[in-house]
């Protein structure tokens, strides 16, 4: 089965799997930094600036990795999916062009000021730069989710005789039927991923020193996010599922593991979908709950995979399990949010070892859920690139198997080395507790112990409106 098509798919999922985590990190962290700097300017409390400086260094690292892995994506459509690029380019190309013009340049243009410019431009202009970078990350999400959701629910085009998609109505293309579900789902996922990462870092430092004010603030903010955003995400996720039912019923059947169209369908909690026998083996199911959740009706009809020709079905086992990973993690996040609220009211938020340890364990949970959700969406779209219209097999470049194999191997080696090293640097950075008088991301920072060399930091503190 190691043909060029399979290898090209593997290469794309490998490169985008690495990439997607990084912009999600940037989206969440940029907004968090904006809030932190806003709080610093409003209250004048130095601890918020310390937190900003602590996290902006991580942002700098993550953003650089996101830029280089994203650059790869912008060329990979042409190198590995040239038939797709030729056919769908007229529709999705301009949207990605807008992403570059409205988002990438904006982020890149103000990133330098955000990272290195506080002392040069002063706090107000610097805050503006931070806001612009945060807006840029969201603008990027807007366009790329528009592209992605158009591939799920294409509309607003006509087909040329040679099989190209020609744009007819840009509004219909951009605001396609699944866009308003996928965009908030993705943005909330980014926020939750960063909230749990920040919360985990805070928890780790609270376990060592429960009185560190910066650790307390980041942990507390993360717990509020868990409480408010995790349940909201579950609601948005449910709505996304209903949208999928309306427009991509085969994907829904694959993620539910339903093989036959039935009224009053059960909800299969766990099992092993089997593409050969067309059954879900070892199924543990709750009667009627499938219909209740999906149709909000006890006896509603739910489509099974038997409604679709075998060559039009997504590979159910992967979709089925990725969906359960995502939902399971989402429920645990909400649960932790409520636990945090209960302990907050009891005054034990910063001292409860169980909660703190649970948060540390949950550090990567948001990112894992996000990747699992992405697998559900994209593998569930198969065997099409443009759902129902253009098959993946007709999208691939005329590159021979050895070529794709060699480049895949090169990507694997380089990404694992580079992003592995990046993760080590990130974790090393996070292993250090935030301190009062935290320094900014000047390149010679690692050799200088923050707090011992308060030169620039003291100058910045003097600039603070409340100081």
């Amino acid at each position: 089965m190691l043909d060029a098509l399979f290898l090209a798919r593997l290469q794309f999922s490998f490169t985008i799997g690495f990439h997607i985590v990084l912009p999600a990190f940037s989206i969440g962290l940029a907004s968090y930094l904006m809030v932190l700097e806003g709080l610093w300017l409003r209250t004048g409390k130095r601890v918020y600036l310390d937190l900003f400086q602590y996290w902006v260094k991580a942002f700098s690292l993550v953003f650089a990795m996101g830029v280089v892995s994203g650059l790869v994506m912008s060329y990979e459509f042409g190198t590995n999916w040239s038939a797709f690029a030729d056919k769908a380019g007229p529709v999705i190309g301009p949207l990605m062009g807008y992403e570059v013009l409205t988002a990438f340049f904006l982020e890149a243009g103000f990133l330098g000021i955000m990272l290195f410019g506080l002392e040069k431009v002063g706090p107000k202009l610097h805050f503006l730069a931070t806001c612009i970078v945060a807006v840029g990350t969201l603008a990027s999400a807007f366009w790329i989710m528009s592209v992605n959701s158009w591939m799920q629910t294409p509309q607003g085009y006509s087909l040329s005789p040679d099989g190209r998609f020609l744009p007819v109505d840009w509004r219909a293309i951009i605001f396609n039927p699944s866009f308003f579900y996928h965009l908030p789902h993705m943005v909330l996922a980014s926020y939750l991923s960063v909230a749990f990462f920040v919360g985990a870092v805070g928890a780790r430092h609270l376990l060592r020193n429960p009185s560190n004010p910066a650790s307390r603030i980041m942990f507390s903010m993360a717990m509020w996010m868990a409480l408010l955003v995790a349940p909201l995400q579950i609601v948005v996720g449910d709505m996304t599922g209903l949208n999928t039912r309306a427009y991509q019923p085969a994907k829904l059947a694959a993620l539910e593991g339903d093989w036959t169209t039935t009224k009053g369908a059960p909800l299969i909690l766990f099992g092993m979908p089997n593409m050969q026998t067309q059954t879900t083996d070892y199924a543990l199911a709750v009667p009627h709950f499938g219909s209740l959740i999906l149709t909000h009706d006890w006896n509603g009809e739910v489509k099974g995979l038997d409604d679709f020709k075998p060559e039009d079905r997504p590979f159910s086992p992967v979709v089925f399990w990725a969906f359960r990973v995502m939902v399971g993690l989402g429920l645990m996040m909400a649960l932790l949010g409520f636990a945090g609220l209960a302990l907050r009211r009891g005054g034990a938020l910063y001292h409860n070892g169980l909660l703190l340890r649970a948060m540390v364990v949950m550090a990567p949970s948001g990112f894992i859920a996000l990747l699992a959700g992405w697998v559900v969406t994209e593998v569930g779209r198969q065997p099409f690139t443009v759902y129902g219209m253009l098959r993946t097999a007709q999208s691939v470049s005329p590159i021979a198997t050895p070529g794709v194999a060699i480049s895949l191997a090169a990507f694997a080696v380089v990404y694992l080395t580079v992003f592995g090293a990046g993760l080590v640097f990130l974790l090393r950075m996070m292993a250090r507790s935030p301190v009062a008088g935290e320094s900014g991301p000047t390149p010679d920072e690692p050799s200088r112990t923050a707090g011992l060399a308060p030169g620039p930091a003291a100058q910045v503190a003097a600039l603070a409106p409340g100081a």
């Binding site: 459509f77 190198t79 330098g112 470049s397």
Partner: protein
């Protein structure tokens, strides 16, 4: 209204502008990396990296615009060039990955070995990326075989003596831009040494410009017809004269130790070479067969993105200029910006 214009022509101009902006901007910061081969002292290397750290990301975004723009408005060109030059593009991207993360990693490495390793990644990534860009340019100029809207050539078509010469020319050219940038933005010993590097590299670049210029018209009879036929001659004949004038200015700038002049002259050479390339290739976007009109996306696609580009590109230029202005002045060792 927009759709009645010659949109492919306008877009060809805009994409050419994006590529030129990329070459000029990322050229000097890749060149800074290439010069790690000559500058081995850790303190100097820190200054070199600091001089480009606040701007490299914006510089590289022009490459995303070049690729993304091609995808958006000339999808056929994008869908044939990328598979044809698959190995050089992939190698360039991987090289840029190494180089981009090295900005962050080299300052965070704890051990001396670790730091040396990421310094090498910064140098190697910069050099390989520049070399691959030259190979890509050479491979494109010598022509790409397209049948039925898809690349129909072989795996190694891009590898020829001409493309290798282009690769070397781009590496040396970027090194020159990097050296001139450092002449402008540093002081003391590093400045003095970069001035010497720039003088030697400038002479090499002139020789390479002559070699590539003499070779290019031989690749394709169309190219020579455009260079030496009418009205091409009216456009091409001033190019060598201007190159020579810039060489005179460059030489004066180096000898008199002007800080900005050599950089401007080196950029001028790149602009002139780019114009020369444009004269050779226009109106083809994938030589020898596909023109900008054949490769164009439907007018509706081109018009939609053009509205955004006309509004946003000037704004981008303004705030990019602002970012450069904020970080103006000499970079001083041991501290970030002063």
């Amino acid at each position: 209204m927009l759709e009645s214009l010659d949109l492919p022509l306008i877009w060809a101009g805009l994409i050419a502008f994006a590529v030129l902006a990329y070459v000029m901007l990322d050229g000097f910061d890749l060149g800074t990396g290439i010069l790690f081969a000559l500058e081995r002292e850790p303190g100097d290397r820190d200054v070199m990296v600091n001089s480009v750290a606040p701007v490299w990301d914006g510089n590289e975004t022009w490459l995303v615009l070049g690729g993304g723009g091609l995808f958006a408005v000339f999808p056929l060109a994008y869908a044939t060039i990328m598979p044809a030059l698959y190995p050089t593009i992939i190698a360039m991207l991987l090289a840029l990955v190494f180089r981009g993360v090295a900005f962050e990693f080299r300052f965070r490495a704890i051990t001396v070995t670790g730091k040396r390793l990421w310094d090498f990644a910064f140098f190697g990534g910069s050099t390989l990326a520049a070399f691959c860009q030259g190979l890509t340019l050479g491979g494109l100029l010598q022509g790409i075989k397209v049948v039925n809207r898809a690349y129909a050539g072989g795996w190694w078509d891009w590898l020829t003596p001409f493309s290798v010469l282009c690769g070397i020319a781009v590496v040396v050219g970027y090194a020159l831009l990097g050296a001139c940038w450092l002449v402008w933005r540093t002081e003391g010993d590093l400045h003095a040494r970069c001035r010497r590097h720039a003088g030697i590299l400038g002479a090499c670049v002139l020789a390479l410009i002559v070699m590539v210029s003499l070779w290019t018209p031989l690749l394709n009879p169309l190219f020579s017809a455009r260079w030496f036929g009418w009205p091409g001659l009216a456009l091409t004949s001033p190019v060598p004269v201007l190159v020579a004038l810039l060489a005179w200015q460059f030489w004066r700038g180096i000898v008199l130790d002007r800080h900005l002049m050599p950089f401007l002259c080196a950029l001028g050479w790149f602009v002139l070479c780019f114009i020369g390339l444009g004269i050779s290739v226009f109106p083809h976007i994938v030589p020898p067969d596909i023109t900008i009109w054949q490769a164009a996306a439907p007018p509706k696609s081109q018009a939609f993105l053009l509205i955004g580009a006309l509004v946003l590109v000037p704004i981008i230029l303004i705030y990019t200029g602002y970012a450069y202005w904020v970080f103006r002045g000499k970079v001083i060792a041991g501290s970030h910006y002063h």
